[in-house]
Symmetry: C2
């Protein structure tokens, strides 16, 4: 696949990701006034325009992938497969459903480990898995290898979210997330920091990252996979 | 095209439409507590879940149309064309961009006729035009006929919105819209009721509906088009 094609597909994932961050920060979700060390979109532009910007980014993601149907390196068949995956991972069975589970768990004060993993598997894993799907479809991987890659990335996504929970609760200045410390606690979100002791949570994240760390393949990819997995687990921001 | 195929495509438009209504009713948009004579989604389920429901409906629309790629009556090529149209009419150049224009006009207190038509052309026309696109693509209409049908439906969409503005401002109980009278005025929306005298607005709506009313074709479609156009102009709810 040409670099420009892969870049267009990768950018679509970034539009979806950014849209999800803008929505997550809204007062009716996590109510976070700060994102990446600057005021959140709704603080700067108002809730209405922020919400519309996230809507527009979602539409742009679908529009850019739909345009790949006319890219000879992709074609209509594979573009349609990608669009179906985008919609599935985004929707009620994916990240939107995961955020709904999160809201409901908060409302009911549920913070057990089982629920927490369920939320992360639905809310954070889908966009990671989608990255695997996009790569696998563009590279024409056989179904079994595509499924294995998707499971690997989904697992890494849950590891990422566990560490995110830990960092949000870290009792020290400058946790590196670019948002105020303890914003999860204020929003009464169930997080791994409240559910299990920190070391156990970090161990769980490490275990979940193993399939990605050991993906293998040719150098320098082999080393890059291992380093990225390690970063997800030990990162401080 | 088989009936089941057409129905699946039509339902996708309805998912997009319902999603737009749920979002429009949110406090950060039109702040309407009533929709179709019952409490709006956010009043009943909270803002967070209402917003997620609208997100899920948008994803479902794309998912259902993407699934048409495997329908032999549609195929991947036409499904990709439909998905591109969905994304385009929904996004920054479509209904989401139109709602942003609306919010900005309110903020600035702009209510002139030119701006109002610009808002309606972006906010309301896209979903009407999309219905034409979906029908034309599924029926394999030649490009010129597809473009004419799209222009006709977009024009009917603007007519529909003009009459919607008039009904919202109608000084009588039970305007039939299923929402409180004057909710547009409370939200300081620029509407046709404030911009021009009612009769002139109704005349403009009638003119805009003419292309649809005179679409012609075989009976009973010919009569159905004319009656639907008349209903859009004279409706009381």
């Amino acid at each position: 696949v040409p670099f420009a094609t892969a870049l267009a597909a990768a950018l679509s994932l970034e539009w979806l990701h950014t849209a999800s961050l803008v929505q997550d920060d809204l007062p009716c979700m996590d109510d976070d006034p700060v994102r990446r060390r600057t005021p959140s979109a709704h603080v700067r532009h108002g809730e209405g325009l922020a919400l519309l910007a996230s809507d527009a980014l979602v539409a742009l993601a679908f529009e850019d992938v739909a345009a790949l149907a006319r890219d000879p390196a992709v074609g209509a068949e594979r573009a349609a497969t990608l669009l179906a995956a985008l919609a599935r991972e985004l929707g009620a069975g994916g990240t939107v459903g995961g955020q709904a589970l999160d809201l409901l768990a908060r409302e009911r004060g549920v913070t057990d480990l089982r629920t927490l993993l369920e939320i992360h598997r639905h809310k954070t894993a889908p966009l990671f898995r989608l990255a695997a799907t996009v790569g696998a479809v563009l590279a024409d991987l056989p179904p079994a290898r595509r499924a294995a890659l998707e499971a690997t990335l989904a697992s890494l996504g849950v590891a990422f979210q566990i560490v995110d929970d830990l960092l949000d609760a870290a009792p020290r200045p400058g946790n590196g997330l670019g948002r105020p410390l303890g914003s999860d606690a204020r929003a009464r979100r169930a997080t791994f920091a409240t559910a299990v002791r920190h070391e156990r949570a970090r161990d769980l994240a490490r275990t979940l990252a193993v399939p990605f760390a050991t993906l293998g393949g040719a150098e320098p990819l082999r080393t890059a996979f291992a380093r990225l997995a390690e970063f997800v687990v030990v990162r401080s921001g």
